[in-house]
Amino acid sequence: MRKTGSLALAFMSVSLLASGGSYQLNLQGLRQVAMGGSGVAWPWDVSAIFYNPGALSRLDGLQVYANAFAVSPRVRYEEALTGVYTAEAHPKRSVPFAVYAGGTVKKGGKLGVGLGVYTPFGSSINWGDDWRGRYIVQSIALSSIFVQPTVSYRVNDIISVGAGFVYGSGTVEIHKAIPLQDMDGNDGRSVLKGRAHGVGFNVGAQVKATGKLQFGASYRSGVRMKVKDGNASFDVASSLVTSFPNTSFSTELPLPGILTIGAGYRVTKKLVVQGDVVFAGWHTYDSLRFEFKENTTALRNTSEPRNYSNTIALRLGAHYNITPALAVMAGGAYDPSPVSDDLLAPDAVDADRLSLSCGVSYIPVRNVSVIAALNYTATPQREAFYAPANFHGVYQIKSLVPALAVSYKF
């Protein structure tokens, strides 16, 4: 007849946030990576499809190019106040790659075409199942592959322009513990898995101001990576199963629009120096929402504040030809974090990054180039807080990325 509300299961809301930090990867062309990631102003090679579609029509003929990077960042957490507790993310190697083909259709022609396949963002961190932040995240893996058909036109000897259409697809997988224990004291678990898709564009222009001085600008649009029908599965005590139905979810991860402006200068016949200023429109990432097809009192849609800020990064590099066949590169970059100190989640660890890189390129036989490079990125220790979860600590990231590229000129 009547019911009292004494045991109504009004659960603590279980948030299922995922990630985004500075999950951008700046590993698309090895020669540029070796020069601190700069390269919008100089038509180095066919990786210009990514760096500046406007440069594609200034290549001499067609090229194919492939590179791969071995990424295994070390991420460390230290409990704030005394650091009695520390955690190190389980090292996990990923291999972002890029393949480009294209250039001018005819040697010395004005029209350039090309296709790029690259991995502009990705993030993967595995803190383990039992670490202190397990109710925020145990592990997360984001990956992407973008495909970009591109056309470029050399208007005259000074100006060239280009544009590409971007189709992105990716995957997301998030594991976290649910703070409801079974009779043996085991936490509940949730796994969110899904495929994401999005579209965008990449446009650019290059200006050869003098024989020595060149300018370039590119704009890569933001891409909204949408997960429409992801798979949410839960493993909880049997009396709670109806509160956590396996269902589908949708979410969206916005990748920022990136405007790059740069200049390159041929100092001597052998030495080129270049620099880029990179504006990233991170402010579009204001929150991360998960919507579940089936909601219960325990499983509600979530919205986690992110409130990212736009950033301006600086990249500098130099390229020195020792012989016509052998060149060395070096450079560095400063990449400030878009994440504020009170909204830094352990699923998207980030801090102002400093990176140093160097590389060597060699032409062993005619038309073939081989490039090897090393990039070292480190952040200072960053004391930060994730307010929605009241999670406080000191983070540090260190990453040494070796990479290899091969290109062939037709």
Partner: protein, 444 residues
Amino acid sequence: MKQLYILAVALVAGLSACKKSGVDIVDPERGDVDFTTYVAIGNSLTAGYADGSLYRSAQLTSYPAILAQQFRQVGGGDFNIPLLPGNAGWPSPKRVLAVRNGCDGEGALSPVFFSGVQDTAGSMANISGQGPFNNVAVPGMRCVDYMMPGYAEIARLFAGVGYAHRFYDHPLTQSPLDVTLKRTPTFFTVWLGGNDVLGYALSGGEGNGAGGVLPSDISLLGNFTSVYDLLIDTLAAIGAKGVLLNIPDITTIPYFTAIPANGLILDETEAETLSNVYTATGIRFAAGANYFMIQDVTAPGGARQIRDGELLLLSIPQDSLKCAGWGGRKPIPRSYVLDAAEIGNIQTATIAFNQVIQNAAQKHGLAYMDADAYMKTLQSGIVYNGVTYTTTFVTGGAFSLDGIHLTPRGYALVANEIIRTINARYGSTISLADVNRYDGVHFP
């Protein structure tokens, strides 16, 4: 190559400039305190009582046990606890969650008595030979009992509480203070006073709300003051430092809030039927949520609807509420209700007792933890490393299945607030316990 060199120099300069980022990680330090011998004084909350009983694993996750663990970073010594032999709960079994069919035939998640392995044999045996103990808290202990000679024997004979009896070496003659001082503390915590109002509250306010000597009375302020002051004066005279915790407002705990005042859910026919029962007094019921009927001798017909702010006790038999007309045609008996006047008595006494505690802390320069304020923040929720702990019964995570005492996670939250209090008062830097490492409520 010169440009390259300049670039490299600039980057190295940049790297070193960014090293300074205001990170304050410090080593654990003891500050002005010697943690060698920590003695915990208190009642059931300090003993680690949970789920309506006392059992070994709960004793090991009491807030003093958690504190002692953290104190080891800064020179804390062994922490001797009068442990029970088993985990079933003694003397009565603890509660566990189970799905049970109620009188209405519906399955519901409910606290029931633990029926697993009964491992309590030997609980009665006197273990004073293993003493002296660091945790001398006794469930049921009131502040006003602390100087009472023969306390353990009296508690056992008249209240059926044998907790003190099992670890006092002279139960017939010793006072709780005598047993406390068997181990000379260098550091202590005192969390007493809860039972000086709780007994009254648990009786539904049937005892003397103005002050009396029986367990169902609110303790007399004069008695409370003289005993508390003598206890703290004695401890301070030893030269020990410590933390005094005040009494939380017990009317915010799940035992008194789990059953909502307007939990009488009726359909249209039921509402009309019930309205007809009370035609004489003109009390009307509508479809939906209604306020329960309670006994009140001063009301016309001896019954009225409970008002917002008045509280129902978790001890109300659920089947009577669901199926026997309690709260509807049968007003809920007074012993299950705290009315506005009774709540006023509890709150007035709590404020007065807390003033005594605060005065004692000031007098001796001891750390004072406003446990009342801290526990009130649980009402809106305390977020810890991704988990929101609240006062919600069963699912709030902080209170155990008796609705009064805490889960190990709840006790760890308290331990951390005590550590913050110690760090602030004594200049120490003791690290906080990892709350989520401990157990919460277990679901079947």
